[in-house]
Symmetry: none
Subunit: 306 residues, 2 copies
DNA sequence: GGAGAAATGTAATTTTCTTTCAAAAACACC
DNA sequence: GGTGTTTTTGAAAGAAAATTACATTTCTCC
């Protein structure tokens, strides 16, 4: 197959023997998890990184043969990088390769001028949003909405910088009349989680999905019978302890110049969630909100949305 | 910088009823061959056109069931539009949908399905980012960076939801070793502003730029000799009291379904600012940051960036 | 209304993927 | 250096999905 995409990808790989993984979040993820994989699984990963486009067109048996391992090994590799099965993996890979285009602009480097930096930073965020948009699973979103509309109360957990996103989410859902709180302190999260009841919903936000305390808190929440919606990276431990996963795979560069696209993506997902819940809740919610807004306007109480 | 992405958004937003096929070559092909298909095959085609994203995640059996036809009919449809098999079809469809073209446009409305909402919300944010990116004045950004690099201390003011952005900014700049604080309470902001000294920098964040207390605080800051960088709408009162304006004009819909794009845009601007400052501060900052990071990694202290 | 052709569905086949379990390799501990 | 244990890997059975072959229905036109 030749789609012409390869060119983009290659063009996007700037200096330093960098390859497609630089530009593509999924490939970057595979590369990142490479060291943690077993030897033969790693061989599979390396093959995928080397020839991602070929992988699209071959079966698991063919891939296993080409790499020189068994089919279950390929299957395990797929599981290790966070996909439920080989089919899903191929589908996501196809999407990811196709959507890699916006990355052509490259990363910010030490020699960039100010005029160059701003568009690059914006473009990274834009590209990240496009990626997550394309990979968002409507079914999962639907489940999340369902769970929230039935929720007795909502709690938003985010540690460190993600705490900010949690606060934002709390603001939004609180306006809907859903009792909502946000905790950014791990200990408080843990304590709050034990007090949850069945039907309550926790939304856990984390870029890496590897904060032990947050994961623990989510486990506690689940033990208490609450639903746990995770906004995090697909293959992360946090994703595993969640009941509904909203995937936010962002190629988060460890580089200092790297903008923090993850936060923007998380906010966008919260936006999607809140708008969806608003829609699902139907006209009565809408009316109530509109009335509140009108009241605020009438009384000239400003500064609520600034 | 022109990426061509804008065209997709704008050019692709035709009449309201227009659907995916407008923007997507594969879907367009399906639509074109629709009249030549047999009745039940056409039903399959229509389903695919209506919900292309769902098709990606279901099997041929499921699709057949949903359309109300048999599996071979689906297979024949796939063959009729020119694919060797269902698997190939799904793969191509996935790629085609992912290729960056936002195929759902316009605003979110009460009648939108869940599948439509998510892309729309994302697209709004993407479009907003593009707008601000294109309108950003490099000269002003340069002045902002200059002011910040010389700053003795930084204070971030944001009221209500914008307080979240202020916190985020504070996190970022604090990591650079710049004494930074964030206040989201108007009164504290006013008090803090009077205590500033010449050379200090206030960054005021507000979507509307019409929060009286925030404006007052900025005036006080200016009286104290501090620089005031405003991230807000161009013509707003806040913009007028600022010394450096970073324009963030977002069409903030008063609609209930409207996602809050302003926050995302503000965060992106903070990102631009912090990355720019990092670049301007040169290698010694970079080195310091890298050392810090390495130390954290070495000690396996995780959870700082989550 | 019935013969023939077209359209569609049923069921069997084949391919592809997943799971189970056993063998082999690596490892730790004597 | 050997022995028991864990980890890693593969062989083979099982399940799921897609394709093919064939039968049935539906339509058309005489």
């Amino acid at each position: 197959m030749t789609t012409g995409m390869e060119d983009h990808i290659v063009a996007a790989a700037p200096a330093a023997g960098a390859d497609a993984a630089e530009a593509n979040p999924l490939l970057a993820r595979i590369r990142a998890s490479l060291p943690e994989l077993r030897k033969s699984e790693r061989a599979v990963g390396e093959f995928v990184l080397a020839k991602p486009n070929e992988v699209l067109n071959i079966s698991i048996a063919e891939l296993a043969y080409r790499v020189g391992v068994s089919q279950p090994t390929v299957a395990r590799f797929v599981g290790a990088v966070g996909f439920p099965g080989f089919k899903d993996f191929k589908l996501r890979l196809a999407q990811s390769l196709a959507s890699g285009v916006p990355y052509v602009h490259g990363d910010v480097g030490p020699d960039d001028s100010l005029e160059e930096v701003a568009p690059k930073v914006f473009n990274r965020s834009i590209a990240a949003l496009m990626n997550v948009r394309n990979q968002l699973d409507p079914a999962r979103l639907g489940r999340a909405v369902e769970v929230i509309t039935r929720a007795g109360r909502m709690e938003f957990y985010g540690v460190g910088n993600s705490g900010i996103v949690a606060s934002d989410a709390q603001h939004k859902f609180f306006r809907f009349g859903i009792p909502a709180v946000a905790y950014s302190d791990p200990h408080t999260q843990g304590m709050a989680a034990t007090l949850l009841e069945p039907g309550d919903v926790v939304v856990a936000i984390s870029a890496s999905g590897r904060t032990p305390e947050l994961i623990r808190a989510c486990e506690l929440a689940r033990d208490a019978g609450a639903e746990v919606i995770a906004i995090t990276a697909t293959a992360s431990p946090l994703a595993r302890v969640s009941t509904v996963l909203l995937a936010a795979d962002v190629h988060e560069d460890p580089d200092v110049y790297a903008p923090m696209t993850s936060r923007i993506v998380h906010l966008a997902l919260i936006d999607v969630l809140s708008v969806s819940v608003a829609l699902a809740s139907g006209p009565e919610l809408i009316k109530r909100l509109e009335r509140t807004k009108q009241t605020l306007r009438d009384k000239r109480i400003r500064g609520f949305e600034e």
